[in-house]
């Protein structure tokens, strides 16, 4: 049983990812360093950073808010809302991208109005943020909700009777109680945002030096037989993801003590 799991994980996860690392540095560090200096690459870094940064902030705020709403309040349509929260994970990202174009594109039913007022969504950063947020929306909420459920309302009520208002109660009692779930949700959401390909590829227009992200560079340079760039970008993406998961798993057990 254990052997099957190990083999399965090896062929599916460990070997492919290690091969990326291996291939990236097969000609030493110099070509990688060179590829990192490329203007298309630095631009992709910047774009990915901005899109991920904004998206993670939105995901976090939305995730915590909707978790509180779904766990702490009873209202008509709550179960429906809970069910459709997972929609972004179920729906194909390419479809999300297309849908956004239908709404915010130049000839979409809302995009034309925005563009006339000097605000371009599609083929620009706002559209990419929208697409990224959409695909990663439930990740924070799904981590936080079970913990909120588990800690119950009594600590919050105790804080209220001790003189804390709703904001103070959230900051001093609720937030510390959910912090590890929240951190884990943020890391998952960040990893998802960094790697988002499908939806972003549709709405970004892949304008080199403008709207190209790291995953888009991987795909494009691979298609163009520029394997060094493809491997380098892949390596960076994989390294960031692994690093953040390692940091979280190092921090987490301390809390249990």
């Amino acid at each position: 049983m254990r052997l099957i799991v190990i083999l399965y994980l090896s062929f599916l996860l460990v070997i492919p990812v290690s091969l990326i690392f291996w291939r990236t540095f097969s000609h030493g560090v110099a070509p990688v360093w060179h590829a990192l200096q490329d203007p298309a690459m630095t631009s992709a870094f910047r774009v990915t950073g901005i899109v991920t940064g904004i998206s993670v902030v939105i995901d976090t705020v939305f995730g915590v808010t909707i978790s509180l709403l779904l766990v702490r309040y009873r209202f008509f349509g709550r179960r429906f809302l809970d069910a459709i929260l997972d929609l972004p994970l179920a729906i194909s990202p390419v479809v999300v991208g297309l849908a956004l174009i239908l709404v915010y594109g130049k000839y979409g039913w809302f995009g034309g109005f925005l563009e006339r007022h000097g605000f371009q969504v599609i083929f620009a950063l706002p559209g990419m943020v929208l697409a990224t947020v959409f695909t990663s929306l439930p990740l924070v909420a799904r981590e936080v909700m079970p913990v909120l459920e588990e800690i119950g309302v009594e600590q919050e009520q105790a804080a209220r009777t001790l003189g804390a208002g709703p904001t103070q109660t959230f900051r001093r009692v609720t937030l510390p109680a959910i912090r590890w779930a929240l951190a884990y949700g943020v890391v998952l959401s960040m990893a998802r945002c960094l790697g988002e390909y499908g939806a972003v590829s549709v709405v970004s227009g892949r304008l080199v030096n403008k709207t190209q992200t790291l995953p888009l560079i991987v795909d494009q340079s691979f298609q163009n037989y520029d394997v060094t760039t493809a491997y380098t970008a892949s390596f960076v993406l994989a390294a960031i993801a692994i690093a953040s998961l390692v940091v979280i798993s190092l921090l987490r057990p301390k809390e249990r003590a």
Binding site: I151, E154, Q155, Q157, A158, A159, R160, T161, L162, G163, A164, G165, Q168, R172, V173, P176, A177
Partner: protein, 331 residues
């Protein structure tokens, strides 16, 4: 003054938790809200604290109408059955919480918290976390935390309900002594009649969303207003159409006026007391009569199964005439 509750009604869907309840709780006393689970006593306490909103009625705390005030502005201390300790804060920070919210100076907080930790005998645990404390210690911490903000009333919701019998008893005595020292108006909810009788100055019996009776422990025990209160406050048995306490039955070995003949069917010794079950000729007593007597008396009477006895309620006993129910009184 104290706490005044006026015509409070609260429904949860179709269930009526409190039905037009009015109540006055005097300042400085230890009052027990006693009743069976689901009777509405916890709901009433939570309404006083502002953790639950009544459908109608008003709550006045120390002369201030608190009905519309959120919990943080009512200046009440609340203690939960399951402690509600802030798990991420040390014992010290837990107790300091209310004072930190009120932005008191650091020195003042330090003095006050240490004073309270001493009061609840937790001074050497200041740096521990709630997870490292026993249930009884956690509940004492919760009490200190609630007392720290100098509340005008303390509300305790089944405070000892989650503790085992031994600790329960200790904390009960301790709460009584603490109240004698601190004198803050205190209301605690319990379904344990022994706890209520032992600790409180006054008991409010609540059942099915209504107040059955209010009074001192001895008044309630000696003059129960109705069958429910009598049954809830202690063991009862039937004798000659009356509800009597088993320890209020006199036994004689010879026929005497106004006694009921009975045959002993079982004798059980429990420590220093002896419980006797006897069957009377009177068919109105469907079950056997239970009699509780001291070991010394039982030895002197030299009781045996099958023996003939004559029973009578003691002349100073609190007996409730079951034929004298309000419905019959009207007819």
């Amino acid at each position: 003054m104290g706490i005044d509750v006026h015509h409070i009604t609260k429904r949860f869907g179709d269930f009526v938790a409190l039905d037009d309840v009015s109540l006055s709780i005097p300042t400085g006393q230890l009052t027990a809200l006693l009743g069976p689970s689901g009777g509405g006593k916890s709901t009433l306490l939570r309404i006083i604290a502002g953790l639950e909103e009544p459908d109608s009625g008003t709550v006045t705390i120390e002369g201030v109408d608190a009905t519309a005030l959120p919990p943080q502005r009512r200046n009440v201390g609340f203690v939960f059955q399951h402690y509600a300790a802030f798990k991420h804060l040390s014992v010290y920070r837990n107790v300091a919480f209310g004072l930190e919210i009120r932005k008191r100076p650091k020195d003042e907080i330090r003095t006050r918290v240490m004073e309270l930790l001493e009061l609840v005998h937790l001074e050497q645990f200041a740096d521990r976390y709630p997870a490292q404390l026993s249930g009884g210690q956690r509940q004492r911490m919760a009490l200190a935390r609630a007392l720290a903000v100098e509340p005008s009333v303390m509300l305790l919701d089944e405070p000892f309900g989650a503790l085992d019998a031994q600790v329960r008893r200790e904390l009960r005595d301790w709460l009584r002594r603490l109240h004698d020292e601190v004198h803050v108006t205190t209301v605690f909810v319990t379904h344990d009649q022994e706890e209520a009788l032992e600790v409180s100055d006054e008991i409010v019996v609540i059942n099915q969303g209504a107040v059955e009776q209010t009074g001192t422990p001895s008044a309630l025990y000696d003059q129960p207003a109705n069958e429910f209160v009598m049954r809830f406050l202690g063991p009862v048995t039937h004798l000659g159409g009356h509800l009597v306490r088993p320890h209020d039955i006199d036994i004689s070995l010879t026929p005497e006026p106004a006694t009921h003949a009975a045959t002993v069917s079982r004798i059980q010794r429990v420590g220093f007391e002896v419980r006797v079950e006897a069957r009377t000729a009177d068919t109105t007593d469907a079950d056997e009569v239970s009699i509780q007597l001291t070991r010394g008396l039982a030895d002197r009477l030299d009781l045996a199964v099958g023996q003939q006895l004559w029973l009578r309620a003691s002349h100073d006993a609190s007996a409730l005439d079951l034929t004298d129910t309000p419905a019959l009184a009207v007819s």
